[in-house]
Amino acid sequence: MKLKYALYEQNKNKLMTVLIFFQTVIVLVMIVSIISAIVSRYEKYRPLENFFQGDGLNMHITTLLGRTGQRYLPFTESSDVEKYLKKAHMVSSYSIQMTFDIDNKKEEFGSWSPVIGYDDELISAYTPEIETGRWLRTEDADTDMIEIVLAQKEESHKVGDIITLTTSDVVKESRDCKLSKPIQAKVVGILADGASPIMRPIHYGEYSDFRDYYYPFHRDEEERAIVFVSKRDIEHNNQIHAAAEQKNLIKGETCIWPYIISGPCFIQYDTGITQKEKDHNSKYLAVNGRYVFRHTSAEMRENSMEYIMNQMNMLIPILIAMIILTLLSIISSTVIMIRQNMHNYSIYYMLGMTWRKCVSVHGLSVVIMQMGIFLFTILCIAICEKTGALDRTVFSLGGWQLLGCFVMIVFFIVFSIVLSFLLIGKRSAKDILREIE
């Protein structure tokens, strides 16, 4: 019954409804954009949060050499490095010394494309935005090929394509060796334009916080494709002969380098590590490693949180100002709407409604309008997101954004109902009806 009268109220106050509608839509869009801005920053910090916990070192390594027999050769396993460090756990990324067969999509991959490998912990810590397919897995592949995710400049490949990997020309030239046979790789995912995979950005060290670990991938700015693989996948796949040969390399004889520790690298110290042990580790890395970025976990944590808080401090006042403006507008619109409806409320009162029920009719009308606005806004944003209109923006629709909008809508509903409580029934029905006469 109330619904009929609430809907009528909407229809009666079209102009005010439209006014409130657009104002609230703007506020919700603002809320989504501001929350998106904060969340996007925090969401980039969160995957690395664990690596920044406690004591440790965070680096971008170029190479890390270890003594193998009579020779110093680059380390290929983080577990091998751990043996030389004290009370340390290392999670690393790798430079895979392979590239695409140049016969395969010459126009795009004619030049050397970096192949980035990750330890399982890095794969599971963060999934960059995928356009199609999926991110790398931490389980063994169910195919006899290694799985790769492509960040491609052109739309040359799609999920399911089989690509041949061969020894990098760089390696061939420098080491005069090659893989014993080409390796088949299956594309399982295509990275989205605007995604930020964990790898060394061009301007690393610019921020000294978590942002220094993300590479902003933009198709039209790239010169070549980037390939992402699981280091474990390469290591465990029987078809990858390089892995076996690499083991030989570590033993000191053969000369293929399928992969080396290179790029983002996180060393976490066990609790109870002494200063002396830390000094030992630092010294070992300084002597044997070539790195371009090195900060302690405490520095990374503090710098990251400072950055996020600064962003919040900057954005939240804008949001508060917007909410206050809308609230003022809602107050005036509600007052006008209620005044316009008072004649009808007085008729309803005369015919057997209590003032409280009149408030509930108004409340239902507000709920219908605000929920309509909420759904409309969310739908519009979702459509924009789906159609790619929001690509390259931080604008996104996640749980926090939905919660923020919902809380705001509930706040507007409660505020409007409280206002109607204060206004409806304050004057007698007969005065209002006589006023019309």
Binding site: I347, L351, K430
Partner: protein, 225 residues
């Protein structure tokens, strides 16, 4: 069935501009009566009617309708009394202008208390029957803002009788109508009275008052005859 005993009503009580509109009004209206309350402007006749309609309160005295003392009941019960026992017709019709005639007549039926509320189909049938009683069945689906004054008043009367109240109150029901329409509307009231309904009409039109079985004159907040 309607009994007022020594009703006093003061506006702006406790303020410097306090004004006593009714000075101890006592009145009894029996079931099936058609009573006119007449008086000059500001005499207190509308105040009296609004108290009878339970849309205005009083300061002292006692008002009983069908033996129930008004003023000692909750707001919810008061709303139920307005809905079930009283039908109100106003000078300006007090219709929801954008609603159709049928929707307007259905309002009191929609507001019936939980146990007494009828199904929608039944409510619609009753509303159509009421419109038929006032010869407005052909205008049921027309928005009332497209109707003439006389037609609007007929719709207002149909709405007032929709819940079959024991008391119909009319505040200057012909005040906004021409002579011919006034005659038609009064005929509707007389027909309803002949069907056994109790009607109290506030009017300053003596021609209207003369058609009632009893005329009560009020002056300066007192009933004088």
């Amino acid at each position: 069935m309607v009994k007022l005993d020594n009703i006093i009503k003061t506006y702006n009580k406790g303020k410097s501009n306090a004004f006593e509109a009714l000075h101890g009004v006592s009145l009894t209206v029996g079931s099936g009566e058609m009573v006119a309350i007449v008086g000059t402007s500001g005499a207190g006749k509308s105040t009296l009617l609004h108290i009878l309609a339970c849309i205005d309160g009083y300061d002292s005295g006692e008002y009983c309708i069908d033996g129930m003392v008004i003023g000692k009941v909750s707001e919810k019960k008061m709303a139920a009394i307005r809905n079930e026992k009283i039908g109100m017709v106003m000078q300006d019709f007090a219709l929801v202008e954008e609603f159709t005639a049928l929707d307007n007549v259905m309002i009191p039926l929609d507001f019936a208390s939980r146990g007494k509320k009828k199904r929608k189909k039944e409510r619609k049938e009753i509303a159509l029957k009421m419109l038929e009683m006032v010869q407005m069945q052909d205008f049921a689906d027309k928005p009332v803002n497209n109707l003439s004054g006389g037609q609007k008043q007929r719709v207002a009367i149909a709405r007032a009788i929709a819940n079959e109240p024991s008391l119909i109150l009319a505040d200057e029901p012909t005040g906004a109508l021409d002579t011919e329409t006034t005659r038609e509307i009064m005929k509707v009231f007389i027909d309803l009275n002949q069907q056994g309904r109790t009607i109290i009409i506030v009017t300053h039109d003596l021609a209207v008052a003369e058609q009632c079985s009893r005329v009560i004159r009020i002056e300066d907040g007192r009933i004088i005859e």
